[in-house]
């Protein structure tokens, strides 16, 4: 009964979405305020029904209702409760429900937090959000109903894929989807602005906090995925350039460009049509990612079970949403005025350079991801684009982004003097030069060219941002303000940017160090054997059987010594899950700020011998630490009072805002 109620709630949510997509939009043209106002209530109602639907599905999982096909396929009575809940989004149908729920939640959030926006704008934004909801709810109801019954009901379920039975996977998809879906708000604002023909800095100011939040969630989501792959897959890698990983990275790269472009549009009124295009394209890449993951067009270790009907549906949806929005763009964008002018040396130029580089990087990753498809379609033969190609492209583009980042932060808007800029960066340039010289010494570089380059770029980003901080404080003091007062809520967008950019520096250090100085050893060990890796002695003491809730594990015991000192005891596991009889590797990791010690068990080789993988991963945590700093920067930035004041300020002159058209 409850699953049917969930199904019914989904249908009701769809009905509300249909009304939400039309009524406020029509009202915005006819000037019917009641119709426009209805958008908000409809958005709340949609969220209520979607919440009911997901609660019904969670209930089916917790109650072990295996008459529901989706539960039977992805759960088991032995599965721990926390994984029963996360199994809700462990496969295609349920993850789609989570997606729809979040789309509803973002819509409701827009409805709740847009009290001060012009009503026509809110109505159109909510209508576009409603159209997106229609797309996903129809997709679910037509091709992927999570509430479908199975008759006769099996006695027990087929269990959740053991790879997904992990704390990281409990939160990774919700974070990632919050990010993906969040970009639909930026998309909706862009469409609403195009419809109204009002692409001004007010539009950019409204879009910015939403875009930043979505981007922050996506950053955390991707970092969690990478962290999970690192410890769960037992290969010690943290990024594989897998099509599905790329599907999440593409909107992130373009979303980053959007974030920066919105800043220019807000502050200077420039780049308007470019910013809109980025907002549309970022969401297009989100949908493209959904297509790639769920249609089975590209093979991937992550891909969901595939079904041609689903692929066809998403492709059609993609055509309507992206094709429609780009057509609207082609029609309306020429009417957008050019905006503020700027000279060659100015912050706008650096941000433009950053944008172009990010778009280039995004195009290269997209090209690499789709190359197998394109080659086959053009009958050019088969191709597989591997890890090395992506790495090459990545290191070819990102250094320039870091270079522009350092100089851009100090450049002035509109017009700057190259000589003044050099003067201000003098200390940073000297310090960076010293770092370059120091890291060139073989003691540091070990003869790798990219080590000094990477560390120097990170140093450049850090020192130039310190210079910017000093410059800012100096100006505050000169104008009679205190430095402490600058930490008030008006400067948070600056400090947010600062923290996020330092996160980039931390991230660069992490990648540079771990890529060049990681040590990987595959060894065969008998109990009592040891292996020396990077100055640590990993002593294999033996293995034993350990029971788990729905698996039994072979657990190895590895004592790690540095000299005679016991550093840590690692217990890597090889788990055999009862239902699927799948074997999973559970690596044992001793994390540290400057190095991870990582052991995973390979295969049992008889007589208590094992093949064992031992890794020494220097600075690998910095990759995720950098990502956390980037997301944290986003959080700090949106707490800036400017955005709240700006939205309040529009309350009074509502007529004035409308008159801008």
């Amino acid at each position: 009964m409850i699953p049917e109620l969930g199904h019914f709630a989904l249908i009701l949510a769809l009905v509300l979405a249909l009304v939400q997509a039309t009524l406020p939009l029509v009202g915005s043209f006819t000037g019917n305020r009641n119709w426009m106002n209805a958008g908000r209530s409809l958005a709340y109602g949609q969220l209520v029904f979607l919440t009911l639907a997901i609660l019904a599905l969670i209930h089916a999982f917790l109650a072990d209702d295996f008459s529901v096909r989706y539960v039977a396929a992805n759960s088991n009575s032995l599965l721990p409760d926390v994984y029963k809940v996360s199994a809700v989004w462990g496969a295609h149908e349920g993850s789609l429900l989570l997606w729809a729920l979040m789309l509803g939640a973002w819509g409701a959030a827009v409805a709740a937090l847009s009290k001060s926006l012009p009503l026509t704008m809110v109505a159109r934004v909510l209508a576009v959000m409603g159209m997106n909801s229609i797309g996903f709810l129809l997709f679910m109801l037509l091709t992927s109903n999570p509430f479908e019954r199975l008759f006769p009901a099996p006695l027990d379920g087929r269990d959740l894929n053991p790879l997904l039975q992990d704390p990281g996977l409990v939160i990774h998809p919700p974070m990632l989807y919050m990010g993906y879906v969040g970009f639909s708000v930026a998309f909706a604002f862009a469409i609403a602005a195009l419809i109204g023909g009002k692409l001004d800095s007010a539009w950019a100011r409204w879009s910015r906090p939403w875009t930043t939040v979505a981007w922050g969630f996506l950053t955390i989501g991707i970092a969690l995925g990478s962290w999970w792959a690192y410890y769960e897959l037992g290969w010690g890698g943290w990024w594989f350039w897998d099509p599905v990983e790329n599907a999440s990275l593409l909107p992130w790269i373009l979303g980053t460009a959007l974030l920066h472009s919105l800043a220019v549009t807000e502050k200077r009124g420039a780049f308007k049509s470019w910013t809109v295009l980025l907002a549309l394209s970022t969401y297009a890449l989100v949908l493209l990612g959904a297509f790639l993951v769920r249609s089975g067009v590209l093979t991937s270790v992550h891909a969901f079970a595939t079904d041609p009907a689903r692929g066809t549906y998403i492709l059609m949806f993609l055509c309507v949403v992206v094709g429609g929005s780009l057509a609207l763009y082609a029609w309306r964008a020429p009417a957008v005025s050019g905006g503020g002018r700027f000279t060659l040396v100015s912050r706008e130029s650096f941000l433009l350079a950053n944008n172009l580089l990010l778009v280039l990087l995004c195009s290269l990753v997209l090209l690499g991801t789709l190359a197998p498809l394109v080659y086959e379609a053009l009958s050019l033969g088969k191709i597989s684009v591997g890890f090395p190609w992506f790495n090459k492209m990545f290191v070819a583009v990102t250094p320039f982004i870091a270079l522009a980042l350092g100089a851009g932060v100090l450049a002035r808007w509109k017009q700057d003097d190259a000589w003044r800029l050099v003067q201000q960066l003098r200390v940073a340039l000297i310090l960076t030069g010293l770092v370059l010289v120091a890291t060139m010494i073989p003691f540091f570089s070990h003869g790798y060219l990219w080590v000094p380059i990477g560390i120097t770029l990170a140093a450049w980003v850090l020192f130039s941002h310190l210079a910017s901080l000093v410059e800012r404080w100096r100006n505050k003091v000169r104008l009679g303000g205190g430095i402490l007062a600058d930490f008030g809520s008006h400067s948070r967008s600056y400090y947010g940017m600062w923290v996020a950019h330092v996160g980039v520096a931390v991230f660069i250090v992490g990648i540079t160090m771990v890529s060049h100085f990681e040590v990987e050893r595959d060894v065969r060990v008998s109990p009592g054997d040891y292996v020396e890796v990077a100055g640590y002695r990993f002593q294999f003491e033996g293995s034993g059987t350990v029971p788990g809730p729905n698996y039994s594990a072979q657990q190895g015991l590895v004592n790690v010594y540095s000299g005679d000192r016991l550093v840590t005891v690692l217990r890597p596991e090889k788990r055999t899950y009862f239902v699927s009889s799948q074997v999973m590797t559970q690596a044992a990791i001793r994390p540290g700020l400057f190095r991870d010690l990582y052991v995973s068990l390979g295969e049992p080789l008889g007589n208590g011998d094992w093949s064992m993988r031992v890794y020494y991963k220097p600075y690998v945590r910095w990759i995720w630490l950098g990502s956390i700093l980037m997301a944290l920067g986003g959080v700090i930035a949106i707490s800036d009072r400017r955005y709240r004041l700006a939205t309040r300020a529009f309350k009074a002159p509502k007529g004035a805002a409308n008159a801008r058209a």
């Binding site: 897959l233 290969w235 890698g237 594989f240 049509s273 295009l277 549309l280 394209s281 297009a284 493209l288 297509f291 249609s295 089975g296 067009v297 590209l298 093979t299 270790v301 595939t306 041609p308 692929g311 066809t312 492709l315 993609l318 055509c319 992206v322 094709g323 780009l326 057509a327 763009y329 082609a330 964008a333 020429p334 009417a335 789709l370 197998p372 498809l373 394109v374 086959e376 379609a377 033969g381 088969k382 597989s384 591997g386 890890f387 595959d522 060894v523 065969r524 699927s580 009889s581 799948q582 074997v583 390979g602 295969e603 080789l605 093949s611």
Partner: protein
């Protein structure tokens, strides 16, 4: 303003091209649509063996027994993931007119041998194809891929992506049983 008009149509044009490719991709479900080689004899080839560069392996070596030809490389994470399945297969079905053989693809000899040394060697033999010369003729799209070849050396099935117990039980094992019964 008119000069901008063409420019603003460009994104739409690019998107149309992209949709063309995606639509094509949809008709070509890579893991299910049979390779054009299915039902045809294996392409003729001659390659050195991985373990012994002096020994050569040819298409003739694929006749006489049912073979699972696994295309793999040491750099490919999915290949490592499927390795244990291959080990189990090799132990279960070995000798009984069925064997697992390897095509080591776009790999370094030392790395490949190291992987087999550490994780075990499920392969009766391995052909070494560092330059994708033979992989190309087999239509290899990316590692791992697995071909099922019957006793006459005819390609009967192609699986793309890593093997796991489920794929084996549901797809490959019934096919191998059928091929065994055929003669």
């Amino acid at each position: 303003m008119n000069r901008f008009k063409n420019w603003t149509l460009l994104p739409l044009a690019l998107f149309v091209v992209l949709v063309g490719f995606l639509g094509y991709g949809l008709t070509m479900d890579p893991s299910k649509v049979p390779s054009p080689l299915i039902g045809k004899p294996v392409p003729e080839f001659e390659l050195p063996a991985l373990t012994n560069p002096d020994r050569s392996i040819t298409h003739e070596d694929l006749k006489g027994a049912i073979s699972l030809v696994n295309v793999w490389a040491s750099w490919c994470p999915s290949c490592r993931a499927e390795h244990k399945t291959l080990m189990a297969l090799a132990q279960q079905g070995a000798g009984d007119g069925f064997r697992v053989v390897g095509l080591n693809w776009k790999d370094e000899r030392d790395d490949a041998l190291e992987m087999l040394r550490v994780f075990g060697d499920p392969y009766t033999w391995n052909a070494f194809d560092p330059d994708n010369r033979v992989g190309l003729h087999f239509g290899v799209y990316g590692a791992p891929e697995t071909f099922v070849i019957d006793r006459q050396g005819i390609i009967r099935y192609k699986h793309i992506g890593p093997l796991d117990p489920r794929v084996w039980e549901q797809t490959l094992r019934p096919l191998v049983q059928q091929l065994k019964a055929e003669s």
